[in-house]
């Protein structure tokens, strides 16, 4: 799975949680909570869907790394089985 494919899949799973007028404006540099308006309570659901879609495990201490979209993509690339 290429970085582009991972980004597109991540955008898809993220879309229901995004609270901005035009989700099409999401970029890799977007901050998940501050820019995209992902409810901090629902953040854990984004993490669980990330685990399911990419077949990885995200530990509690890893969640803090998910600040920007690019952080999540980097983490997925790092952990995803080859």
């Amino acid at each position: 799975m290429s970085r582009d494919e991972i980004r597109n899949t991540f955008f898809d799973l993220l879309r229901p949680y995004v609270r901005m007028e035009d989700p099409g404006r999401m970029t890799e540099s977007s901050l998940l909570v501050e820019d995209l308006g992902v409810n901090s309570t629902r953040f854990v659901d984004v993490v669980l869907e990330t685990e399911d879609r990419f077949k990885i495990r995200v530990e509690n201490e890893d969640i803090d790394r998910f600040r920007r979209v690019s952080d999540a993509i980097d983490f997925i690339l790092e952990r995803r089985p080859a």
Partner: protein, 422 residues
Amino acid sequence: MNRVVITGMGIVAPNAIGLAAYCRALCEGASGISFSPKMKELDLGCQVAGVPQISDQVVHTYGGSDLFRHSNSSMKYSVIAALECWRDAGMHLPGSDSSTDWNTAAIIGTCVGGIDTIGDFVVPETNAGRARRLGSSAAERTMGSCMSAYVGGQLGLGGQVTTNSSACATGTEAIVNAYWMIREGRIGRVLAGSSEGAAVYLWACLDAMRVTMRKSNDCPRSASRPLSATAGGLVPSGGAGILMLENMASAQSRKARIYAEVLGGHSNAGGQRNGGSITASNPEGVVRCVQEALDVARTNPSEIDYINGHLTGTGGDTREIRCLASALQRPLRDMPWVNSTKSMIGHGLGASGSMECVAAVLQLAHGFIHPSLNCEDFHPDIADLAPKVPQVSIQAPCRLALKTSFGFGDVNSCVVLRRWDD
């Protein structure tokens, strides 16, 4: 003391979604009871139930699938009914950035709330060591007040937002509680009612008690038989009914359409004495509840034109009728019109009282009495009542209605409604 009127209603019932369809279904005697493959799979004795059919169109109308992402059936039913009620009351649906409405409260009761979330998801995941997979919404879907909290958030309500729970008296009790809040001037409006999910785990508990109907799995429409000699138990169901109770003066000042006035109501318990128990009513408690509701309503028993009974299709039906006759001090042949909405929609448990109050108000407002299905073999012990129980829909311009609900715990709740003529 303020007068209290009903200015809006919403309904999710096994035989109809929405007021217009419900009114038509009641008038036509449309049964909402169907065979349940799930109950058969679980080897329950009763394999018929009343399950509201929520179409994609309804979901779209009331907020779309995003709104219901973090919900269960009891929450979904309550939000659909509450939003319909809100619109029906002539109120604009507020956006998420609107200001808080400090003048509206919500009392939305339930028997067991989100038991489907608990049974299908929380317990299996937790016991399998996967609590970390429960996600963010398990807590909000399992708390007892999940429905009122969900509705309060959708509508931005700033009055008391709470959930009552008094078994099968819950729905009527919510309306009685709301009546007192407005009558005493504590709030201007209350969304009052109840919701029960299509909760097979609750139905299994009733099945284990052998109080469900087991003899009509091949004929669902005939299964719910209140007042019948061959009544064999209740038919479980789910749904929600929500009513907008409002201070009459404020309703009139905003030129709201008024369906009916809530003249009075009362809730009590029989103390599980004198034949009462956790599952049976103390007859004296029932009689006192009705009489106190009439006293609050300043209504003479002879003025009651119609009773929407609790009438579940169990052995309690004949006892209930005797209690009602005693409370009204009227012989059976001189009783008001009586029917059982459960004959069409089954026993909605915590939701029953509110779904049936909506039915009672619709009948008052439209001048008809709906048929009580499946009592063609009327119970011989109360035979004199038979002419007062329509088996087809009749035109009957009733002025005053009494709604009764009774529940496990020997609890009772009654409300007196007056048709709005002004």
